[in-house]
Symmetry: C2
């Protein structure tokens, strides 16, 4: 049994291809008798129209490309989940590509996707920070070519398109404020995403919360870390030098690891040191004590992206006017922070 085409069916009944096509579309142009036999034959032999040919004719593929830096990151998986959910509901499938934080890969991926394989793109660009000029051009091409584009989380200001971002400044503020409210005096900030704008925004929120309490910002309390760094080693300085009683960790895994180190050193969480992490995922709920986290509502972000994009694809949105949707975060209070004093 081999893939059936219209032509095959046509020659089987000695009719023309157009007749078969119309018959299968139940066109009134075809007599009931002929329609019936063709439809039956098609069904019996599991005929399915070739998608690629259809895509060509319709100049649409009913699929959207999703480009994310890393699929092992729970946040992105959540976003992907949200995207896939509404895409599916609205009849689209998704082509997912991970860039592994590599600019080159991202460029190649975009190159590939923007040549007709998808009707639109949702991307969280690794280039949001270290944007080279050529890469910027690359993305600009996409919007120039009228390919609907939605950027999320790691967006580029220079690109004019729909965006869905997290209110990271407010999140940093909210988290810091909570620590202060629950009695923390000296709050360190562990930053595993030091090169990103979202990292800077969160630090901005941190600073604002400190300022509000007239606490001087201490540069030394902000600790940039790279993936390869020995967290334990780096933290030891701070822990020895400063009298830390609160820590903000800018992603989940760092929060978890930091807490592990703190506990191993004999501190009690939250009584000696309270911790708040960013990007609520699977881990934080199950570590001991359960971590208080900033949730970014990844799935919601994904849904929003997908809806925006599909609206754009189907020309439901107003052409030319792009929106930036800011998704608020939530503070999920668990046991790595003290309770707010009732007073």
């Amino acid at each position: 049994m081999i893939k059936l085409t219209l032509k095959d069916i046509a020659s089987h009944f000695s009719v023309s291809v157009s007749t078969v096509s119309k018959a299968l579309h139940d066109s009134h142009e075809i007599s009931g008798e002929v329609k019936k036999k063709i439809q039956k034959f098609a069904k019996d032999n599991h005929y399915r129209p070739n998608k690629v040919a259809l895509n060509l004719v319709n100049r649409s593929t009913k699929s959207i490309g999703v480009v994310i830096p890393n699929i092992l990151n729970y946040f992105f998986v959540q976003v992907l989940y949200g995207i896939e959910k509404v895409a599916n509901e609205r009849g689209y499938s998704i082509i997912s590509c991970v860039t592994d934080h590599s600019l080159k890969k991202e460029t190649m991926t975009l190159e590939m996707l923007s040549s007709g394989s998808v009707d639109g793109l949702i991307i969280s660009s690794v280039a949001s920070e270290r944007q080279t000029k050529t890469h910027l051009e690359n993305i600009k091409d996409i919007v120039d070519y009228q390919i609907p584009l939605v950027m999320f989380d790691r967006v580029m200001d220079a690109i004019d398109c729909d965006k869905v971002i997290v209110d990271d400044l407010e999140a940093g503020y909210k988290a810091t404020k909570y620590l202060l409210d629950t009695g923390c005096k000296t709050i360190a900030l562990v930053n595993p995403i030091c090169k990103t704008k979202i990292g800077r925004l969160r630090i901005g929120g941190y600073k604002r919360a400190l300022k509000e309490r007239n606490i001087d910002f201490d540069e030394k309390l902000v600790i940039p870390i790279e993936p390869k760094d020995d967290l334990d080693f780096i933290l030891s300085f701070i822990l020895n030098d400063k009298n830390i009683d609160g820590i903000l960790a800018l992603d989940e895994i760092t929060a978890v690891k930091t807490m592990g180190i703190i506990k191993a050193r004999g501190y009690h969480v939250p009584n000696d040191i309270a911790i708040i992490g960013f990007t609520n995922g699977q881990l934080s709920k199950y570590v001991t004590p359960a971590l208080t986290m900033i949730s970014q509502h990844g799935s919601y972000i994904g849904e929003t992206c997908a809806n925006r994009l599909i609206d754009r694809i189907e020309s439901i949105s107003t052409p030319g006017v792009y929106e930036t949707k800011v998704v608020k975060t939530s503070l999920i209070v668990r046991d790595s922070t003290r309770k707010i004093p009732l007073g």
Copy 2:
């Protein structure tokens, strides 16, 4: 600026479409002069050949469909990661579809994918258990239509195709044996995947290990649980009735939750009760104590699937002869189990 086609370029230079096509392919048939100007124009205007049209002529899409039950499950994400990795290396992109454990969705997805949108399929079928007859037909169609297919993890015996599976029986055996070796006498098994074959296989391994030690299998120690069940409530019976000193949990989240409950009830892990979980993911490493887990090497499974599939697509494998690759698990010993006595 709008999408450029060969025709556009052709009419711009008043040449034929074929000339342009050849020029862009640097064909010797075209004079250097003409080639140069066409190539320059194409580059300046960011011409990119339409993928869909190419797919049609080449009768290949250079993309593979991946169908998984759930993307929020770390195991599947790992597999996806592995697939994406080698697919990418070998020049394929992936269309990922999640079925949410819904048979209907899976059917629809397969229907969609098997009509030319992809060159091959990798699937972990939710129907591996509750396989209705029509669904089976559905999947059979795929192999009948010569669409290369690789099934993994949740495979269907009735389907003749390449498969990558986990040695679940051996895994169950290995885990149980380790618990016995470290002094456990009464081992409960918490089964959150009671309807699946892999669940049964793991239980098979559990039984074999018990038998080897001449321990009678006690039906009551095997606890099936459903997603909606109150685990704490269900566990209370066992904990009260039996003198449990070891627990096997058939997935990660259940292992973590079970340990939480055990600890909350005042048992010490691993001294009072040791725990081994299945499907090593992100959680187990960071909970306290860190969980001893059976790792299924998701990423490796993904890589294997992708390589097999692409070999098949590119006719590197022998047609007609399908292989089933059994991937061995590893026991990752952490702190939720006692150490093997030296003797």
